[in-house]
């Protein structure tokens, strides 16, 4: 009648007196319970091990082991909650208190009142039910947590692999600080060597929390590394990444990003700020330039590479660039105050040693937040423009099944092609497929890029490189380039490349000829004139090639690049 569960509850009766057991057995049966019996404490413990027991009715005074001791042992085993109701003839308060102290949940004095017994059993079952409910829920939560932790560990490993392309160090000038947890707050730093042997660096900050932010980081990293390696310009990379993120991310998610591209052939930095705090250029102990966000974060609306607002500025050796995500400014102390822009700028001001600035910012920020809960989402990056950089071992592509061979190819690009797309990555890819250079992939990129830029800028577009002598002029140069490229009706560039194996087969000579439709120049005139025309880019080409010469009326250039498989 009372027990309305499908499965009858099992109650353990522990009493050395047979009559008492018989009475209880009858009472419980009538109330709809199953019962199991034991004659003393020791047997009671065995019964708990053997059967599924819902409640124990436990006598106090018994031979072998008394009720107090049995209760202590049973409760001490922590096998879930089994309520114990002590059955006792004693009525003094101290004895009853001892029952509770031993682990009993309630007691019932003899002789039994069967109504009272049933009510106590009911009440205990209800408590046991609640307990089980909580236990099963907390178990589910625990399992869920464990699963999440495992997933996070897997993701962490995945992330480590993605960002393992680590170019940090005093040799490269790149330093950054990023806690492992930061990844799950959606901060991302990617770096890749570009064709001028400078670095292209992307600092990203996804909206949203946890793993959802990580989802966007994977394609982002893929696009960034593979396209930069293939010589695509950073504006192309950003355009592609933007459209990928639009497809992938839900409307409310996006990635604020800062991109720094160092052109080491010309010592110029290009910066795109799309939704992150100001990027600083620090020179001779002060901030000389602030790059504010001028672009919409990535993943919101379609853009073309021409719509990206890029700022360019010539660099001097020793210049330092700083990028921080909003975590630095929003680092909060225990009073709820934020580190803020003023404190950041003051750190710049107070510091007289550029080489210590990076550490100073981090330590000031940490000191400010001392005692507060660590939010762990501080991402700070420093890039120092060094005269000499060393990136460690180049990881060149290995094409094991492809042997060097003799070949030649020719590309003709008319003004329409020049206007519409950047042909270099495709040419470079074709060369990589045909000619797996063991080393010198980067050099070849540089040579091609510089020769091509020279033909386009000065040959076809007739731009004057002296424009680039001032910071202001630099921007104007590139704006003018864009303008002329769009308005010009004619012009073309021809690229001829051929490769010849060495006699021993361990290397070869690559011959590059680039002919533009421009007017050329008198390359036999004194050096100064030639330098005006060719700029720093071609000097770099000369240093990388065995021989460089101008041909025809000065609108053709030929370069020999020799390689061997041992170097």
């Amino acid at each position: 009648m009372k027990n309305n569960q499908h499965q009858p509850k099992t109650i353990l009766i522990v009493d050395d007196d047979l009559t008492n057991r018989l009475v209880l057995r009858a009472l419980l049966k009538e109330a709809g319970y199953q019962s199991v019996e034991a004659e003393n404490g020791e047997l009671a413990i065995e019964a708990v091990d053997k059967h599924h027991i819902d409640i124990i009715l436990l006598d106090v005074m018994m031979p072998v082991m008394d009720g107090y001791q049995a209760a202590k042992i049973i409760k001490g085993r922590n096998k879930g909650f089994i309520p114990i109701i002590f059955l006792t003839a004693m009525t003094d308060e101290a004895a009853l208190a001892k029952c509770i102290e031993a682990g009993g949940d309630d007691f019932l004095t003899k002789p039994y009142n069967h109504i009272l017994l049933n009510s106590k059993i009911d009440s205990m079952l209800r408590i046991a039910g609640l307990y089980q409910n909580i236990e099963s829920k907390s178990k589910a939560i625990e399992e869920h947590n464990l699963q999440m932790l495992q997933e996070m560990n897997v993701t962490k490993k995945l992330f480590k692999k993605i960002i393992s392309n680590d170019l940090r160090g005093d040799d490269t000038g790149l330093h950054y600080s990023m806690s492992p947890m930061t990844m799950f707050n959606g901060d991302l730093i990617l770096a890749e060597k570009n064709q001028t042997s400078g670095l292209d660096i992307l600092v990203g900050d996804f909206t949203g929390h946890g793993l959802s932010a990580a989802i966007g980081a994977i394609p982002m990293s893929d696009i960034f590394h593979s396209m930069t390696q293939k010589c695509f310009s950073f504006t192309e990379v950003l355009t592609e990444a933007n459209s990928k993120l639009i497809d992938l991310l839900p409307t409310q998610m996006f990635m604020a990003a800062g991109l720094i591209s160092i052109d080491r052939s010309n010592n110029v930095v290009s910066i795109v700020n799309a939704g992150i705090p100001d990027i600083y250029l620090y020179r001779n102990n002060e901030i000389v330039r602030t790059f504010k966000s001028k672009n919409i974060p990535l993943g919101i609306s379609k853009i073309t590479s021409q719509q990206i607002e890029v700022e360019m500025i010539p660099l001097e050796y020793g210049d330092r660039l700083y990028v921080a995500t909003d975590g630095v400014m929003e680092a909060t102390n225990k009073n709820g105050d934020m580190f803020g822009l003023d404190r950041l700028l003051k750190t710049f001001e107070d510091n007289s040693q550029g080489s210590e600035l990076f550490d100073s910012i981090l330590s000031n920020c940490a000191a400010f937040c001392e005692g507060a809960d660590q939010t762990d989402d501080i991402t700070l990056l420093e890039l120092c423009h060094l005269e000499n950089v060393h990136y460690g071992d180049d990881k060149e592509f290995k094409h094991e099944h492809c042997n060097p061979s003799n070949w030649s190819m020719q590309f003709s690009l008319d003004i329409k092609s020049l206007r519409q797309f950047d042909a270099l990555p495709f040419i470079m890819q074709a060369v990589n497929q045909l000619q797996p250079l063991e080393s010198g992939r980067t050099s070849l990129h540089t040579i091609l890029t510089e020769m091509f830029a020279n033909a386009l800028d000065h040959g076809v577009l007739k731009l004057d490189s002296s424009m680039k002598s001032t910071p202001q002029g630099y921007m104007e140069f590139y704006q003018e380039k864009q303008k002329r490229l769009e308005s010009l009706d004619e012009g073309d560039i021809e690229i001829i490349m051929s490769h010849e194996l060495n006699e021993d087969g361990n290397g070869g000579r690559l011959t590059l000829v680039i002919i533009d439709s421009g007017e050329g120049f008198d390359y036999e005139q004194p050096e100064t004139n030639k330098n005006d025309y060719s700029g720093r880019g071609l000097k770099l080409v000369s240093s990388l090639c065995t021989e460089v010469q101008f041909l025809g009326k000065g609108n053709s250039i030929m370069a020999y690049y020799d390689w061997d498989s041992d170097s």
Binding site: T251, Q252, F254, A256, G275, I276, K292, N295, P297, S301
Partner: protein, 101 residues
Amino acid sequence: MSVTINVSNENSTATIKIDGRFDFSLHNDFRKSYKDVNLENGEYTIDLGSTGYLDSSALGMLLLLKEHAESQSATVRLVNFNDEIKEILSIASFDKLFTLG
């Protein structure tokens, strides 16, 4: 923190007012406020006059509203924001996506 919406009688404008911090905790309330509103060719105005702070998830929520508005050929205008919020909106170049002021 609260979100209130007032829709004009002619269904041409709706003003959504955000009190307090505009962050992820308002996600559901904000979405609920406009989800059944249809302003064909109208304008949604977000009144940030009593908004003390706005974070990046709020920017995301505004993008969701923009999507909702665009499906009705309606526009979104942000008004009455303080200087700090203005700075956040300008860093994200949201002036290119929304009408400000």
